[in-house]
């Protein structure tokens, strides 16, 4: 009797747990995991993927979401952050970077909103150079100081107050990859029908 009661207890807690998993993970996954990738969605290049890993390493997703909400739910549409995101937009994302925080703005279509490489580099070097009120951390280790820019490299146009003496600042390979990733974020192509 004692054994059966314990057994029923453990069975019960196992069942409630697995039911929740099936309801909000298993069944949704079965509906959206085999969607056709939209025609306009490009696969990441090797450099963009490397940049994505830098994005993860520096924890960008703790302050920037990558999902646009529909009109009537928040001001994402009014801010021109892009059409509402659909599951298929993230076909190639692993790990997902949807995010839960907007200490900074959403980045799901940042390539469209801010396509300037120069702006992106300055902002990454120190965001307060381009937005004085920003509280984004600086990322100086994604840049290096050199006497002169090498062939194909472009030095940052830093204001005199922060520019090093007798040297220029150029992005490292990591810095270039991260910006390449950010400038690949464009989900403004037409959305195929989604199973919503």
């Amino acid at each position: 009797m004692m054994f059966i009661r314990s057994f029923m207890f453990f069975l019960g807690v196992l069942a409630t747990f697995l039911l929740g998993w099936a309801g909000i993970v298993g069944i949704p996954d079965s509906m959206i995991s085999r969607l056709e990738p939209p025609a306009g969605l490009k696969r990441y290049t090797a450099e963009q993927l490397y940049g994505r890993s830098i994005y993860i390493r520096e924890g960008c997703m703790y302050c920037h979401s990558q999902q646009a909400r529909p009109r009537g739910f928040g001001a994402d549409q009014e801010r021109f952050w892009g059409r509402p995101s659909i599951p298929a937009d993230f076909t190639y994302d692993r790990p997902h970077l949807l995010g839960t925080m907007r200490t900074g703005p959403d980045l799901v279509n940042i390539a469209v909103r801010q396509p300037s490489e120069e702006w992106q580099y300055l902002h990454l070097y120190n965001a307060r150079l381009v937005t004085s009120e920003s509280i984004m951390p600086p990322y100086p280790w994604l840049f290096e100081e050199k006497p002169t820019a090498g062939p194909g490299e472009k030095a940052l146009a830093l204001p005199d107050s922060v520019a090093p003496r007798n040297a220029v600042v150029v992005p490292t390979r990591e810095g270039r990859a991260l910006i390449a990733y950010l400038l690949s974020l464009d989900r403004t192509y037409d959305a195929p029908r989604s199973p919503k």
Binding site: R5, P28, Q67, F73, G74, T103
Partner: protein, 488 residues
Amino acid sequence: MTEQANSSMPVENQSPGPSDHQSDEDLRIHIDDSATSPTLLFLATSMVWLIIGSLFGVVVALKFSLPDWLGSVPALTFGRLRPAHLNTVVFGFVSLAGAGMVIWLTGRLCRTHIRWTGLLYISVIIWNLGLLLGTALVLAGYSEGMEWLEFPLIAVVPVALGFVLFAASILKTFANRSVEHIYISLWYILASLVWFPILYVIGNGRFYQGVSQAAMNWWFAHNLLTVWVTPLGLAGAYYFIPKVIGRPIYSYYLGLLGFWSFALFYNWNGLHHLVGGPVPTWAVSISIVASLLMFIPVITVAVNHHMTAFGNLKLVRYSPTLRFVVFGAMSYTVVSLQGSLEATRTMQEIVHFTHYTVGHAHLGVYSFASMILFGAMYYILPRIAKWEWPYPALIKVHFWLTAVGVLLYFVAMEVGGWLQGMAMVNGAVPFIDSVIVTRPWLWGRSIGGVMMTIGNILFAYHFALVVYRAGPIRFAPGWVRKAEGQTS
């Protein structure tokens, strides 16, 4: 498991007759002795993570106000310290302190000595090694990139194994119990031993991709509270409130209703973190409904605890355990009701993506779970270290610093987060306004965080004094205030 519905109290709480008092006392000492070393190891190492995690938290908070501070050190950048803070406080402090409490409670509630203690020693070692490795790797830049799941596999495996060994010892002890009656605290403990390993494996197993992975991510993160943090807090509250007051729990039936409605509804809550996101809307709606249904277990538990303490609440002036546990139990009611309302679409439109959510999370993990764990340690430690807390004044300082600190943090984050959200949903104002408006409140958050951290450090110091049997010798309980007639 509800056979003796009328004797609804921890068994050892029933006042023994004068004749069997001696043997009862002996048995309790024998049980406590078997739990002493493993409990002490879990609790003591949890103190180390409490300090490390708190310091991470303070630096993270200050970086919102001083973004260039420590800005050239990659390992100390915001995006690496934040996951380090979360993982050290949740999988370090709360988990290890909770496991320590569970070991001790299981001996008491099963009325038998702890079995397979060898496994517990291995468990505490590899669990801590996993934490150390995981924290170092996240700071070095090897995060896996999903919130609450940042630890790389090499750190996840030892933590998971540590948990399984711990669970094996607890289940073996449970199987050898010498009581018929299984008290409410044990239901929560036993359920968490089943839930946590499955959750942890699915979460870290990398079975999903794209948006499915996001659904899994928030099922995992929210369920970590369901299957582990909340059961620890509730097991503690259900045990220590009646224990210190010396009255049985108000209603066993309410306990039963509370437990099973908790198990049924809480598992479905996670997707309220993706409201408005690219997830099937029906699944998000289910999570919102389930979040609202949490009113049932929460109010049930609140009524049960309140009615137990009713008329005896003045004891919180004397007993450190009761003071911390009651504060934690009240926070549980507040944070849960807040969470249910916060999950609705109306609220999510504004507070999703803001500091509001972070404030809510701290009310749960600190004000509820951690405060109950502090209360539990105030009770357990003198009994296993055989040494009273030497400085009652220090307990008082610990309480006020942490209680005021967490409330200040909470209020600052909720107000700041709300203003941030209101600015964000207003398409007419520039985005940067949603940053500027939070500035004073982010300072408030840092001040609250510093207060909690100082309180935590004082507590760890006091903890060490008891372990090393330092400070004045006391022969009576270290009550925060002298009770009538108590002389020492």
